[in-house]
Symmetry: C2
Subunit: 207 residues, 2 copies
């Protein structure tokens, strides 16, 4: 993660490598603390204990439990975006990009099960962060769909409704197959392939 991204997720930017590591430890510990206890029962001392960091260090970076929660939502939002971007390979066409991004998201969610609980709790704890999370992802998808339409790889005229439809597909496939995974489920690649086939040609009978 770039320094620019890291500074945006602390109230006060760390100036040293050691500071950046402490910040990372605090955010990872906060994810576990908030996921286990929920925002209201979670405590700053619980976060610093999990992080193995002195209580005073917390206040070097954050003013409050609210502040680190807000930072964590932003950090997770960026991590979701990075997981999708890292799965992309130059030369993929527009539909293949959506398939690879969804597969990467499903794997990310399976390995970061705190994700849903924390983003979802943001609706109640920090409504602005919650909305920003989805508006940001929605815009990113919409940009890809519009670019695909212009480049001839997707049909033209795709916009906000299709972007939010696609985001909702991805979020709910993550809920079902990463968070609520069951024995015998198709794997991430199979789920992403099924969703991609829907995007490729819909659910109507093959003509």
């Amino acid at each position: 993660m770039s320094m620019a991204a890291e500074t945006s997720i602390a109230d006060k930017a760390p100036r040293t490598e050691r500071g950046r590591k402490t910040l990372r430890k605090l955010l990872d510990a906060a994810a576990r603390e908030f996921a286990d206890h929920g925002f209201h029962e979670a405590s700053i001392s619980g976060i610093t204990r999990r992080a193995g960091v002195a209580l005073g260090s917390f206040y070097t970076y954050y003013d409050s439990k609210d502040a680190i929660f807000r930072a964590l939502v932003k950090d997770m939002s960026e991590a979701v975006g990075a997981a999708a971007r890292n799965a992309l390979v130059p030369g993929m066409d527009a539909l293949e990009v959506e398939r690879a991004a969804l597969e990467a998201f499903l794997r990310f969610a399976a390995e970061n099960k705190a994700l849903y609980r924390i983003i979802d709790e943001a609706e109640f704890v920090d409504a602005e962060s919650y909305r920003a999370h989805y508006e940001t992802i929605g815009s990113r998808i919409e940009d890809r769909l519009r670019a695909g339409g212009k480049g001839g790889e997707l049909r033209e005229g795709l916009g906000t409704p299709e972007a939010w439809a696609l985001m909702g597909m991805n979020v709910f496939l993550g809920l079902r197959y990463a968070i609520w995974a069951r024995e015998g489920d198709p794997d991430a690649a199979e789920v992403a392939a099924a969703a991609n086939r829907l995007l490729q040609s819909g659910i109507a009978p093959i003509a």
Copy 2:
């Protein structure tokens, strides 16, 4: 709503028409109280005050704030299903059913803005109800997709991934166009038509 449905949303079933009306008032008041204050700050006296019902009457039907919250999630879940069903007309083909169900859902969510907040808070207050809500809707969609595949109106082999993809589309289109509606947005019919075109033929270029 049938008597059978009403009895399932109270701890103790009302035996008279007056009792059924009181129960309905309590549930409608609970929706407003929970939406305005959230579960933790909401109170039974707040619910009975809004309902214009004596405090004692509450306990005729529910044992606790938890009990009426759980009943409310179930009631809303049933109301979402009923809104979709009521929009269906005999003779609609499988894709038209999905279009009509989504349009009805978007209108329902716009008129019942408490819906998202209450269902979403269930994840934290009553995780079992939250999961049951989506498992129920997902199964219902999956049944329709499988029936459509058998009847030749949809392609064969559709199942759980496509059902959850479709549910996620609908939930996120409701979030964007009913809950977070903006000036100048397309209306419910236009949003449902865009989603239905995606289901009809995907987002690939027209061959």
